[in-house]
Symmetry: C2
Subunit: 220 residues, 2 copies
């Protein structure tokens, strides 16, 4: 079970670590963290990670190809030709093409979601149409060999769902018990459908500031 997980500067760390922790438990999992170059790579948290492979040394035909999302870092990588070429080339020979959060936009930018149903972070869902994908408002979406999770923490649910597809329902149940995924959020505020309008507005404002900062950066 060869798994190639893309990482790039300032991606959202938790998008990766949900499925990474769960897939590490798959029997015979061989997982690569693939980046443009080796050496410490910053995330959108204070943690930096060490890539294990580059686009040149990564598997050419993994069982699973994966991309995490983010904000500024994701918009930047969606315009990086070497990254899009790596994803398009490898995606053509991958068993599964998968993402969490705005990682779906990266897969879309590489031309890998055209004609497929997919999901992404709730705040970015409509953007999937820009890449010929059909947005679906679900925690995770599987359409043929494309699988996508919603925002950030949806990677845990998504990771378990893919484990079930690959290794069977009992393997997924065991993984869920091992990582004690018996959620009990302190509030009911994890999606615009359930959060208060004030909270939704505040988070959208926060993302708007991010987008504005990005626009300023691009002009510099």
């Amino acid at each position: 079970m060869q798994i190639s997980m893309l990482i790039y500067p300032n991606f959202t760390a938790l998008d990766l670590f949900g499925p990474l922790q769960i897939w590490t438990m798959l029997p015979d999992a061989k997982i690569e963290l693939v980046a443009k170059e080796l050496g410490p790579l910053p995330t959108d948290t204070p943690a930096s990670l060490m890539p294990t492979h580059t686009y040149e040394t990564a598997s050419k035909s993994p069982d699973i190809l994966f991309a995490p999302g983010g904000t500024e870092g994701t918009f930047a990588i969606m315009e990086d030709r070497a990254t899009l070429d790596y994803l398009a080339d490898t995606g053509a020979r991958s068993g599964w093409i998968t993402s969490v959060c705005t990682g779906a936009l990266v897969m879309g930018a590489a031309g890998l979601l055209k004609g497929y149903q997919a999901t992404t972070h709730w705040a970015a869902l409509d953007q999937l149409k820009n890449f010929g994908a059909t947005p679906v408002k679900e925690r995770w979406v599987i359409d043929r060999n494309r699988a996508s999770g919603g925002g950030v923490t949806a990677g845990i649910d998504f990771g378990l769902a893919i484990t079930a597809e690959i290794a069977g329902e009992e393997a997924a149940r065991m993984a869920q018990l091992a990582v004690e995924y018996n959620p009990h959020p302190p509030y009911n505020s994890g999606h615009p459908d359930v959060a208060t309008p004030e909270t939704v507005t505040a988070v959208l404002d926060h993302f708007a500031e991010t987008t504005a900062r990005l626009a300023t950066t691009e002009k510099t």
Copy 2:
């Protein structure tokens, strides 16, 4: 808001990245990843992280001190004198003393949970008694300035609960919406209270193998 998060060889990555992702959103958060020495540090996944501080350079009186859990790596660090001294010294001057998963056993080994209620991974709950703590079967537990989360993914619920304590309920609701924590696990198997007996036995057998392997290693 100074936050010191311990990392050590082969800790469980997702124990850290739940609260780390959420606390990165705290206003004015200054987060250190503190290890015995600098340089790439392996987790229990294929990802290695870069510590930002050592026991010598870390904050002496952080607002939050945190420890993640794990299996073999956790048992090893619980016997490491320099680590226990760092935690005991710093814990004496910390605002909050916190953990996720078997990180509670590390805090216990450092003498920081005596007389406190705490929780940890379901498979390790009884072990808290060895350190003078009172085990509580909850997703997270707060007792005065001690706060602990259950196994692995409980770090997300725990991280949001601490955000509410520190920055208020609305900050926690915003963080929950930003990371789309609207869980929808594919199965109901995240705790022995809800999993099938067969799944519980299989996971306990898996942990038993881990413990047996540790015992063999120690004899070598």
